[in-house]
Amino acid sequence: MDFASFLQQLGQQLINGISLGSIYALIALGYTMIYGIIRLINFAHGDIYMLGAYFGYFATAILKMSFIPSLIIAMVLAAITGMVIERAAYRPLRSAPRIAVLITAIGVSLFLEYGSMLLVTPQPRTFPAVFPAEIYNVGGLVLNSQQIVILAVSLILMLVLNYVVHYTKSGKAMRAVSYDTDAAKLMGIDVDKVISFTFAVGSALAAAAGVLVGIYYNSIDPLMGIMPGLKAFVAAVLGGIGIIPGAMLGGVLMGVIEALVSGFFSSTFRDAAAFGILILILLFRPSGLLGKNVREKV
């Protein structure tokens, strides 16, 4: 392999990786926000992503909506679902040991997977093409319009999230609850409301990822959330769980690493690499790439 073709391949793999990675990033954001606020790994998060894809599917295929309205509908419906799940499954366990909540999260995940299998059948569905995939060839690198849309939508959503967290009142409340729940409560912040809001935002982001994936890969099924959910979880840990920019960085990194591993080594090692990263990061930098080493308060 000569150097020019190597460079071209590398460039192409980076494009492939970043578009896949921005999907992981969107899902990882939800993981990290929820962890940041109630110290819970919400294993049902990958399934919210699946539900989002189905909401988007019904909006485009049955209600014949165009891309933006169906994206918004999917996000709103997923936000409501996220809030309902939090209210029904996690709030009653607010003072229970953390392991109980974690197990509940796994239960919710299985419930969503097999419940939707019952409702929509395990049959994979073909997502309608809401906009044509135009192909651009830039200096030997191939880029299509869907990849650009994925990137643009994820970037916009991340900027909006950043604005919400840092410059609005509810964002300030979120940060306060995440920093110290009891003190926030004493300051008159309605903690339950803030947690509910966090679930809504995280679920909406996952739903956006679901719709984007549906359009990009053109096929959705009730178990589609398991693998991306796990990988996004690794991405969140990689960036430093609980840290919002960390989730974005971790997601994009995961996508790029996967593309490079299948591009330059072997495609069968791809998943092994993803989970190998989790082990390495837990061994050598448990607080993640952007995390500070904080001692647990006693």
Binding site: Q9, G17, L20, A133, Y217, S219, S266, R270
Partner: protein, 389 residues
């Protein structure tokens, strides 16, 4: 509290035992009905295969019943869903044989599922015939190298299918180099890949890339980019339509314009839905039959099938129809509904005129017959050529 719990547990246990006993009494074979089972992929990743096959089998049974049934009895088909998963295929086989007491089973479509269920029907001495499972291991146990007595197929095997495609690539498409991209979770795809490779190299060609993916993968762009960099003349993807559709779509998006080849796992109406008709231009796959074939048997079958289901029968429907007809024929010859006698007669099938050609079962229970090559044109299957064994 503890005592209450204990009483409760005992009650549950008693109920369960009662339930099992009741279930055991419920299924008495009605005297004038012969039951045939269908252990099929009704849902999951290969769902269109199993649904077509079940339609084909139902049509065969309906036609036989219209002619007065066999040996004075009517036939019924009992369908069990294996969800396109090996473990479920074994469960479905167990249910059909022990609960429904079927005399023969139309086995799953996918080789992995048939192999997983094989031990069940072998030990119960009930024959299973797969319409299309084409991996050699289906009828020959790879550990003992012995033919599985109760397993049959109405299809040709992968060595034949793989070599048909390798010859087609080398001779008709004049390809010198090929890349192979297989589904690593499927015995069928691995077998096809291996035989394609052997024949292609024997013909003087070169395999320059061998890559693999897993069932349910969705992103293939990284691997396709890698394959593209090696510039092969053809790409062979012997997987199933769900992933193949995405592979063809993503390959064309990345600008890979070479012919893409595959096997009978491509035969689904979902394929053009997933990949898009334009992306599928310049793709070819081997199959058991083509509805465009002009022979009288095919024409009659296509007309009857269309009348019943209002759609074109794919190869799975045709082969399941053939498999069911072969079983019915064997019951007739055996003049008995005894599963062992039916098996003995089925083994003797020779020159049976089926929809998918003249079928003779050889010593390893494989059908010896011709293959067709299908070319996709704007999302439509067109008959390209017929290859005799």
């Amino acid at each position: 509290m503890a005592r209450k719990m204990r009483i409760f547990t005992w009650c549950v246990l008693l109920l369960m035992i009662a339930g099992i006993m009741l279930a055991g009494c419920g299924n008495k074979q009605a005297a004038n009905v012969i039951k045939i089972g269908a252990n099929q992929e009704m849902t999951g990743n290969n769902a269109t295969f199993g649904q077509s096959a079940t339609n084909g089998a139902k049509l065969a049974i309906k036609e036989a019943n219209a002619k007065g049934g066999v040996i004075g009895k009517q036939l019924t088909l009992i369908v069990a869903d294996n969800k396109s998963e090996p473990a479920e295929a074994a469960n479905a086989m167990q249910k059909l044989i022990t609960q429904d007491k079927v005399v023969a089973v139309i086995a799953p479509i996918a080789s992995s599922n048939v192999i997983a269920a094989a031990a069940v029907n072998q030990s119960n001495k009930v024959l299973a015939i797969s319409p299309t499972a084409s991996n050699p291991k289906v009828t020959v146990d790879p550990d003992t190298k012995k033919v599985r007595e109760y397993l049959f197929r109405a299809a040709f095997i992968d060595p034949f299918q793989g070599s048909v495609m390798a010859n087609f690539a080398g001779k008709s498409l004049k390809a010198k180099t090929a890349a192979i991209y297989i589904d690593n979770t499927s015995d069928y795809a691995k077998g096809l890949g291996q035989y394609f490779k052997e024949t292609f190299i024997k013909n003087g060609g070169q395999i320059i890339a061998e890559e693999a993916y897993l069932q349910k993968d969705t992103d293939f762009k990284a691997t396709i980019t890698k394959i593209m960099a090696k510039k092969p003349d053809v790409l062979f993807v012997p997987g199933y339509y769900q992933e193949v559709g995405m592979i063809v779509k993503q390959a064309r998006e990345l600008g890979l314009a070479i012919p893409i080849l595959g096997g009978d796992g491509w035969d689904s109406a979902k394929l053009p839905e997933i990949a898009g008709g334009k992306a599928l231009n310049n793709t070819f796959f081997s199959n058991h039959y083509s509805p465009d074939d002009q022979s009288a048997a095919v024409k009659a079958f296509v007309t009857n099938y269309k009348k019943e289901y209002n759609q074109n029968p794919d190869a799975f429907a045709a082969l399941a129809y053939d498999a069911t007809m072969m079983v019915i024929e064997s019951i007739k010859r055996a003049n008995s509904a005894d599963p062992v006698k039916i098996r003995d007669e089925l083994e003797k099938t020779k020159n049976y005129s089926a929809v998918s050609g003249k079928i003779t079962l050889n010593s390893t229970h494989d059908a010896v017959k011709s293959a067709v090559i299908i070319e996709m044109k704007d999302g439509k299957q067109t008959f390209k050529e017929k290859v005799n064994p």
